[in-house]
C-alpha cells in the first residue's frame, strides 16, 4: 500500500462514524478499528523491505515552487512509529468501546480519534518538512478536540486550551526553525536534508534553527519548562490519555528529535541543550509523580519523566544511546498504555482515582491488579520486564557521560531519577492494589468485562515477552529503527539481562532499594511535600494568558472604538502618508508622451463634470438633489469613455448608472431625505484638507503616468494580435473577458451572484425579524405622487419591453465582434424588466415572472462553468474556448464560438443578480406600503372580443380596477 494512502486512510475513515453512529456504537467502533487495521496491514506489508534497510516512497507535487511536495516515505523509524500509532490505536478503539458510557457521543469520539491518528501517521511518514508541519499542526488541533472531549467539564476545556496554546506556540517556533533548516539545506525534503549534515552544522544559522525546532519538539513532548500542560490534559477521557501520552502526541516531539538526529546531533549545543533538558525533566517529573494522589496525575508526571529519559538519551548523540532511546520508546509505549488503561478501569469500576481512597483492589479485581502490577514493575525497572532492560541501557550511558568536566553529575541525577521512578511505581501498586480491602469505595468494584481488559492484557503480554526474550521480540525492530535514526551502518550490541556487575547494575540496585525505602517513609515525606511552597504552573500560565488578553483588549478597544468615520479617516491618512513616502523616495523619469489636444467638446464635458462634482459635495445635505447630481457625473463619465475609444465601457457605465439610480431611489424611500450638519467647522476643514491632499496625490499620479510610455511591452500586444486567431472575435475587450481572462470573469459573475444572494438574505432577515413590525407601521415622510401607475408610462413600458429585449439579444449576439456582450446585454435586459416593475408595480410584475432570479443566477454560473469544463473533453485546460465558421443555406457564413456559451452564463448571472438585488429593496417597500396597489396596473384592452361584457368577471380584474365606461354602463353600474 502506498505510504500516502496509509496516511490518508484514517482521515477517510473519520467520515464513517458520522454515518454509522445511528446503527450503534459497536458498529462505529468496528468501522474505526477496521480502518486502522487496514492501514496497519498496508504498512506491515512493507515490513520485509524496510527491515532490509530500503525506503518506500510516494511522491506527489503539490506546490513545487514553494518546495511543498506531498512526499511520503517509510523508513525504519517511520515504520516503528506508524506501527505503534496504528497498533495501539486499534487497542484504544476496542477499549473505548467499553469505556465510554451511553451518554458520551461515541461517534464524535471516533471521528476525532481517527483524525488524530491520521495526523500522527502523517507526521511519521512525511518526507517533506513542510508537509510534516501541516500534520504537526493537525495533531495540535485534533488533540484539542480529544482533550476537551468532555465539554461539560471546565477542567477538560481548560486543559484542552492549555495544550493547544503550548503546543501551538511550539508549532509556530518549529515552523520558523524548519524554514531555516530547509533554507540551509536547499531543499524541504527530509531525505535530502538528512544528507546535508556538514553544511547545516557549519551554518551560522544552525543554532537559531536548532533552538526554534527544539521549541516545537520540547513543547510537544512536555519537556521542562513546558511540561505543565500534560498533567492538565489528563482531564480527557482515559482512552485519550492512554493514546496521547503513551504512543502518539507526546512522542511526536521525540520522533522529530530522532528524525533530525543525523543532521542536528553531535554538537556541544545539541548535547548541552537536549541532554540537560531531558535530565532535568526526568528528575522533576519523577519527583512530582511520587506525591500525586490521582492515579492519572501520577502516570502523567511519570510520562513526563520517561519522555525526559528518552530526550536525554537522544541528546547524548552517541549511537548506543540512540539504540537505548528507540528501545525505551517501544517499552514505554507498551507499559504506559497498559497502565493508563488499568487506571481507567479502576476509575470506571470504583468511581475514584484517588490513591487515598483505594487499596486492596487485588482481591476484588484480580485481573486488573495483575495487569497493572506487571506494567508498573516494568516501569520501575525490575528485572525480567522490558522496562528494566532499557533503563539499564540508559544508566549505562549515564555512567559514562561527562557533563562540563564533572563525571559525577549525570550518573547522580540519573540514579536519583531512577530511584524516584521506582518509588512512584511501587506506590502505584501498593497504595492502589495491596493492603486490606476497604468498605468505603464510592462504588463496589469488580473486574470489568473481557473487552475492557483485553487491550491492556495484550500490551502486558508484550511487556513480559520483550522482557524475557528481548532479541527475539524487539531486537530486529530496534535494529531497524535505530539504524534509520543514526543514518545507517549501525552495529547493535545484543540486548540482554546479565552483563556482569556493571556500574549500571549497581545504580539499578540503588534505585530499586531506594525506591522501597522511600515508600516506607512515605507518610512523613508527603507531609513535608505538602508543607513546602512550590510554584503552581497553572496559576502562572493563567496569569500570563490573562495579561496577554488584557493587552489585546487594550489594543483592540484603543484602535477599534466603533467609529467608522475614524477608521476611514485613518485609512485615508495612512494611504496619503504611504503615497508621500513613496513619492519622496523615488525619482521620476522625463515625460515621453505628447499631450492630446484639448477639444472644445472635451472642455465642456470637463466643466460639467467638475461642476456636478462640486455641487454633489456642496449640496449633499439634500439627498435627492445629490442623487440627481451624481447621476450627471456618471453620464459624463460614460461620455468620456466613448470619447476615449472605450465603447464597451461607455455602454456598461450608462446601464449601471440607471440601475444604480433606481437602487438609490428605492433606498431613499426609507432613509431620511436630508443630512444634518453634525461636524464642527474644524472637523469639516480637516476633512477638506485630507480630501484635497488625497485628490492632488491621485491626480498627480495619473497625470505623471499618462505622460510616460509603458516601461515594458504590455500583454495587450499579444491580445490584440491573437484576439481573432485564438479567440475568434474582433472585439478584443470582449474576447479578453470571455476567453483570455475567462477565469477572472467567471469569478466576478460568481461574486456578483453572491452579492445578490447576500441582499436576498438580508431582506429575508428584515422581513421576518423584528424590523417587519416597524416596516408595517411605516408612514412615508414625503407626500406621494397622485397616480401610482401613470397610464402613459404603463403603455410605454409594455410597448418597449419586446423592443428592449430584442436590443438585449442584439447586443449579446454582436458582442464578440462589436461593442456589447454578456455584461451589457444583461444590464439592458435587467433595465427592461425593472421598467415593468416601476410602471406596473412589484406585485403585478412578480405575478407574471415565471422564473426565480436565484435560478437565473445559478443557471448563469452553471452555464459558464459547464462551458469552461467542456474544454476538458477536448483535452484542453478549463475555459479554453473553441470556435468555427458555419454556413447554412440562405444565410451568410456565421461564426459559432464556445465563448458564447460562457457569455450566456455571464448574461444570465447579471440579469439575475441585478433583479434579485433591486427586488429585495422593493419587497421591503411593499411591506411598508399600503396594500392593494395592484389594481392600477391593469390595462383593459378594448379588443373586439373584450366587448363581450359577460366575459369580464370580477375574478379577472380585482375590485376597483378602472374598467371602460361602456362595460360599466352595460352592467348598470355607470352613471
Amino acid at each position: 500500500m502506498s505510504p500516502a494512502l496509509i496516511a490518508a486512510l484514517p482521515f477517510l475513515g473519520a467520515l464513517l462514524p458520522g454515518i454509522l453512529i445511528r446503527t450503534g456504537r459497536s458498529n462505529t467502533a468496528f468501522a474505526a478499528g477496521l480502518t486502522s487495521g487496514l492501514a496497519l496491514l498496508g504498512l506491515l506489508v512493507h515490513l520485509p523491505e524496510v527491515m532490509r534497510g530500503e525506503v518506500v516512497q510516494a511522491q506527489f507535487e503539490w506546490m513545487p515552487t514553494l518546495g511543498l511536495n506531498a512526499n511520503f516515505m517509510i523508513d525504519g523509524l517511520g515504520m516503528l512509529f506508524a506501527t505503534l500509532i496504528l497498533g495501539i490505536g486499534i487497542l484504544i478503539i476496542i477499549y473505548a468501546r467499553y469505556y465510554l458510557t451511553k451518554a458520551d457521543p461515541a461517534g464524535q469520539f471516533y471521528t476525532y480519534l481517527l483524525l488524530f491518528q491520521g495526523a500522527m501517521v502523517g507526521i511519521v511518514l512525511s518526507d517533506n518538512i513542510l508537509l510534516l508541519l501541516v500534520f504537526w499542526e493537525l495533531t495540535s488541533l485534533s488533540s484539542f478536540l480529544l482533550i476537551g472531549f468532555w465539554k461539560h467539564l471546565p477542567e477538560g476545556r481548560q486543559g484542552a486550551r492549555m495544550a493547544l496554546t503550548v503546543t501551538g506556540l511550539g508549532g509556530l517556533s518549529m515552523i520558523a526553525g524548519m524554514l531555516i533548516l530547509g533554507h540551509i539545506a536547499g531543499s524541504y525534503d527530509i531525505s535530502v536534508i538528512l544528507t546535508q549534515k556538514a553544511a547545516i552544522q557549519a551554518s551560522p544559522l544552525y543554532l537559531p534553527a536548532l533552538i526554534l525546532i527544539l521549541g516545537g519538539a520540547f513543547t510537544k513532548s512536555a519537556q521542562f519548562p513546558f511540561h505543565f500542560w500534560l498533567p492538565h490534559a489528563m482531564a480527557a477521557p482515559t482512552p485519550v490519555s492512554a493514546y496521547l501520552h503513551s504512543a502518539t502526541m507526546v512522542k511526536a516531539g521525540l520522533f522529530l528529535l530522532a528524525r533530525l538526529w543525523p543532521v542536528l546531533s553531535g554538537t556541544p549545543e545539541w548535547f548541552y541543550i537536549v541532554a540537560t533538558t531531558g535530565l532535568i525533566t526526568m528528575l522533576i517529573g519523577a519527583k512530582i509523580a511520587i506525591f500525586k494522589d490521582d492515579l492519572k496525575a501520577l502516570l502523567a508526571f511519570s510520562t513526563v519523566s520517561h519522555l525526559g529519559l528518552i530526550t536525554f538519551l537522544l541528546g547524548l548523540g552517541t549511537k548506543t544511546a540512540a539504540v537505548a532511546a528507540v528501545f525505551h520508546i517501544i517499552n514505554h509505549a507498551t507499559f504506559k498504555a497498559a497502565l493508563f488503561m488499568s487506571a481507567g478501569i479502576v476509575d470506571h469500576e470504583t468511581h475514584t482515582r484517588d490513591l487515598k481512597r483505594l487499596g486492596g483492589l487485588r482481591h476484588l479485581m484480580p485481573v486488573t491488579a495483575t495487569i497493572a502490577t506487571i506494567a508498573a514493575l516494568s516501569m520501575a525497572g525490575i528485572p525480567l520486564f522490558n522496562g528494566f532492560l532499557s533503563k539499564e541501557l540508559m544508566l549505562e550511558e549515564a555512567a559514562h557521560t561527562v557533563w562540563a568536566g564533572a563525571a559525577w553529575f549525570v550518573p547522580l541525577i540519573a540514579v536519583i531519577a531512577a530511584l524516584f521512578s521506582a518509588a512512584y511505581s511501587f506506590r502505584f501498586i501498593v497504595h492502589g492494589f495491596f493492603g486490606p480491602v476497604r468498605d468505603d469505595y464510592p462504588h463496589k468494584p469488580h473486574d470489568p468485562n473481557f473487552g475492557m481488559w483485553l487491550s491492556p492484557a495484550f500490551l502486558v503480554v508484550l511487556v513480559v515477552l520483550i522482557g524475557l526474550m528481548p532479541m527475539t521480540f524487539a531486537g530486529p525492530v530496534v535494529q531497524m529503527a535505530a539504524d534509520a535514526v543514526v543514518g545507517g551502518g549501525l552495529h547493535m550490541h545484543p540486548i540482554k539481562h546479565w552483563h556482569g556487575v556493571t556500574p549500571a547494575l549497581i545504580m539499578s540496585g540503588i534505585a530499586v532499594a531506594g525506591g522501597i525505602v522511600l515508600l516506607l517513609g512515605f507518610a512523613p515525606l508527603k507531609r513535608m511535600w505538602e508543607a513546602a511552597p512550590r510554584p503552581e504552573a497553572k496559576a502562572i500560565f493563567d496569569w500570563i494568558v490573562a495579561r496577554c488578553a488584557c493587552v489585546a483588549t487594550w489594543i483592540t478597544s484603543g484602535l477599534h472604538n466603533g467609529s467608522m468615520a475614524r477608521y476611514l479617516m485613518m485609512f485615508t491618512l495612512a494611504s496619503i502618508a504611504v503615497g508621500v513616502w513613496a513619492w519622496s523616495g523615488g525619482t521620476q523619469g522625463p515625460a515621453t508622451r505628447e499631450m492630446l489636444p484639448i477639444t472644445p467638446v472635451a472642455l465642456v464635458g470637463w466643466v460639467m463634470l467638475v461642476t456636478a462634482t462640486g455641487c454633489v459635495v456642496a449640496f449633499h445635505h439634500n439627498r435627492f438633489l445629490a442623487l440627481v447630481l451624481i447621476s450627471i457625473v456618471g453620464l459624463i463619465v460614460s461620455i468620456c469613455f466613448i470619447y476615449l475609444s472605450a465603447p464597451d465601457l461607455a455602454l456598461t457605465q450608462i446601464s449601471v448608472e440607471i440601475v444604480t439610480a433606481v437602487l438609490m431611489l428605492l433606498a431613499l424611500n426609507f432613509l431620511p431625505k436630508t443630512t444634518k450638519i453634525e461636524s464642527s467647522r474644524l472637523k469639516l476643514s480637516f476633512d477638506a484638507v485630507l480630501a484635497i491632499a488625497g485628490g492632488l496625490g491621485i491626480g498627480a499620479l495619473i497625470y505623471a503616468l499618462m505622460l510616460r510610455d509603458f516601461a515594458f511591452e504590455t500583454m495587450s500586444v499579444y491580445h490584440l494580435a491573437n484576439s481573432y486567431n485564438l479567440g475568434g472575435g474582433d472585439n478584443v475587450v470582449n474576447v479578453i473577458l470571455v476567453d483570455f481572462r475567462g477565469y477572472d470573469t467567471y469569478g466576478e459573475v460568481t461574486v456578483l451572484g453572491i452579492a445578490a444572494l447576500v441582499i436576498f438574505a438580508l431582506t429575508e432577515a428584515l422581513l421576518n425579524g423584528t424590523a417587519s413590525k416597524k416596516l408595517i407601521a411605516w408612514r412615508p415622510d414625503m407626500e406621494r405622487g397622485g397616480d401610482k401607475h401613470p397610464l402613459m408610462l404603463l403603455v410605454a413600458t409594455r410597448v418597449l419591453l419586446p423592443i428592449a429585449l430584442l436590443v438585449g439579444v442584439f447586443i449579446f449576439l454582436r458582442g464578440h465582434n462589436l461593442p456589447g456582450g454578456g455584461f451589457i446585454a444583461g444590464l439592458v435586459v435587467a433595465i427592461a424588466l425593472v421598467m415593468q416593475y416601476m410602471a406596473s408595480g412589484f406585485a403585478w410584475t412578480q405575478a407574471r415572472q415565471k422564473v426565480y432570479y436565484h435560478v437565473l443566477i445559478a443557471c448563469g454560473v452553471l452555464a459558464a462553468g459547464i462551458t469552461g469544463a467542456g474544454a476538458w473533453f477536448n483535452g484542453m485546460p478549463f475555459l479554453t474556448s473553441d470556435f468555427g465558421y458555419f454556413k447554412l443555406p440562405g444565410l451568410e457564413k456565421f461564426e459559432l464560438a464556445t465563448a458564447a456559451g460562457f457569455d450566456l452564463g455571464v448574461f444570465l448571472g447579471v440579469v439575475g443578480s441585478v433583479l434579485l438585488a433591486l427586488g429585495g429593496l422593493s419587497r421591503l417597500a411593499r411591506r411598508a406600503a399600503v396594500l392593494d396597489e395592484e389594481k392600477g396596473a391593469h390595462i383593459v384592452a378594448e379588443k373586439p372580443e373584450a366587448r363581450e361584457v359577460a366575459a369580464v368577471s370580477s375574478v379577472a380584474y380585482p375590485e376597483g380596477t378602472p374598467l371602460p365606461r361602456r362595460w360599466l354602463k352595460a352592467r348598470g353600474e355607470g352613471q
Binding site: I598, I630, V656, P819, L924
Partner: protein, 115 residues
C-alpha cells in the same frame, strides 16, 4: 486632454474622500460611488489615452494608428459591474441598520460599542 482627465480624477477623488468622512450612511454611499468613478477612470487611464482607436479589430482607419490598450478596459468593465453589486450590498446593509436602529449614523455610540 491628459490634464483634463487627471484633474477630473483628482477632483472626484477629493469629493469621494470628503463624502466618505461624513457621519451618515447616504453621503458615505455617495462618496464610495464617487471614488468608484475616480478609480475606474484611473485604471482606464493607465492604458494611456487615445481618441478614435477603439480595440475593435478591422475598425475603419485603425490600420495605420493601431488600437488603444484593451486590458484596462476589460478590467474596468468588470469593475463597474462589481461596484454596482458592492453598492447594492452596502445600501441594503445601511437600510437594514436604519430600519432596525432608527438612525442612519455610521458610528456606534460609546454605549453600543461596549456591547
Amino acid at each position: 486632454m491628459e490634464a483634463l482627465v487627471a484633474s477630473a480624477v483628482g477632483i472626484m477623488t477629493a469629493a469621494g474622500i470628503y463624502l466618505i468622512l461624513r457621519l451618515r450612511t447616504f453621503p458615505v454611499v455617495l462618496g464610495m460611488a464617487m471614488l468608484s468613478y475616480a478609480v475606474n477612470i484611473f485604471l482606464f487611464a493607465t492604458g494611456r489615452l487615445a481618441v478614435n482607436l477603439p480595440p475593435i479589430l478591422g475598425h475603419a482607419g485603425a490600420e495605420t494608428a493601431g488600437y488603444t490598450d484593451p486590458i484596462p478596459q476589460a478590467l474596468v468593465l468588470t469593475a463597474i459591474v462589481i461596484s454596482f453589486g458592492m453598492t447594492a450590498v452596502v445600501v441594503m446593509l445601511s437600510l437594514g441598520a436604519f430600519i432596525e436602529a432608527g438612525n442612519d449614523r455610521i458610528d456606534l455610540g460609546p454605549e453600543e460599542n461596549k456591547k
